[in-house]
Amino acid sequence: MTVGSGSLKSVSVSVGVATGLYGISFGALGATAGLDIYQTVALSIFMFSGGSQFAFIGVLASGGIGSLPAAVTSSWLLGVRNGFYALSLAPILKLSGFRRVLGAQLTIDESAAVSTSRESHSEQVKGFWFTGISVFVFWNIATGLGFLLGNSIGDPKQFGLDAAAAAALFALVWPRLLNLLGGFVGLVALVSAVILVPLLPPGMPVLAAAVLAVGFGTLISRWIK
């Protein structure tokens, strides 16, 4: 069973549990960044976007209270991709009113990935909601637990939680890498993001690399035709 196959509910719950592992490390890092448990959990409830949250506490941990404006900016920039997910999900979900307000909050990497990996329209819609809700629940519980465990487990890296985060994203994008163009775009993005990290402020490398990779991919796909 990969993300793209298997029963929808089990996929949604699996994705939620896996994200929870990542949430534990977020909670633990929130404690080390100097936030209290309410502030850490508030980030998970109201920001609810792993990349942005890690950017926020990452900048805060390295720069202290004085770096709060930079923490806000980098989490905002890292959140851009959710807007693109919302954009590509809009014709599938056709949200309006209260569901739009709620659905927007649940628009994240995981819900978008599961939704777009399904074939039928009804599974795409269900995949979005099941996964969004499942991740929301596990993510927030895990954040609280992670904060409490923070001091007792010591360094989350010791348990490989940082690698779990990267592996989860890798597994989510995997089915899209299996064709030539998708694999190419992914590789360009990965390599250029890494190269740009020492050169650009936090949050920017991911965005710049994505723009670069999409540009290359579009050029190549035209050239192939």
């Binding site: 069973m1 990969t2 699996s14 896996a18 936030l35 508030a42 109201f46 920001m47 942005s52 926020f56 209270i65 709060l68 404006p69 989490s75 890292l78 991709r81 959710n82 807007g83 693109f84 997910y85 954009l87 590509s88 809009a90 739009r100 927007a104 628009t107 990497d109 990935a113 010791q158 490989g160 940082d162 690698a163 779990a164 985060a165 990267a166 592996a167 989860a168 994203l169 890798f170 597994a171 994008v173 995997w174 899209r176 890498l177 992914g186 590789l187 360009v188 993005a189 390599v191 993001a193 890494v194 990290v197 020492p198 490398p205 991911v206 690399a209 994505a210 999409v214 579009t218 796909s221």
Partner: protein, 101 residues
């Protein structure tokens, strides 16, 4: 800047992307080129994050146990190991590499 204020502003800022995305008319996505761009963008953003989370730390490039973990994760994906299995194996791999070296 007050910490709570920063959390509030940042949460709203992140939410604004999500909400604005739902407001863009569907016809913007009807063109095949835009559809392809949005699909490429998902791949590119996710792989950029994989890159940043695997090969960097702080403000620089960093090579450590995460690389071994991501290679093992790739092999697991190739072998069609379930999602949660891939994530757990990657975490255990990184933890073991750090324990041994």
């Amino acid at each position: 800047m007050n910490t709570w204020l920063a959390i509030g502003v940042a949460a709203l800022a992140v939410y604004s992307w999500k909400f604005i995305g739902t407001l863009v008319p569907a016809r913007f996505l009807e063109s095949k080129r835009l559809l392809q761009i949005s699909q490429f963008l998902t791949i590119a953003l996710l792989m950029s994050l994989v890159g940043v989370q695997t090969f960097t730390g702080g403000k620089g490039i960093e090579f450590d146990a995460r690389i071994v973990a991501i290679v093992i994760a790739g092999i697991c994906l190739k072998l069609k190991v379930p999602f949660i299995g891939v994530v757990l194996i990657a975490a255990v791999t990184a933890a073991l590499v750090r324990l041994i070296f």
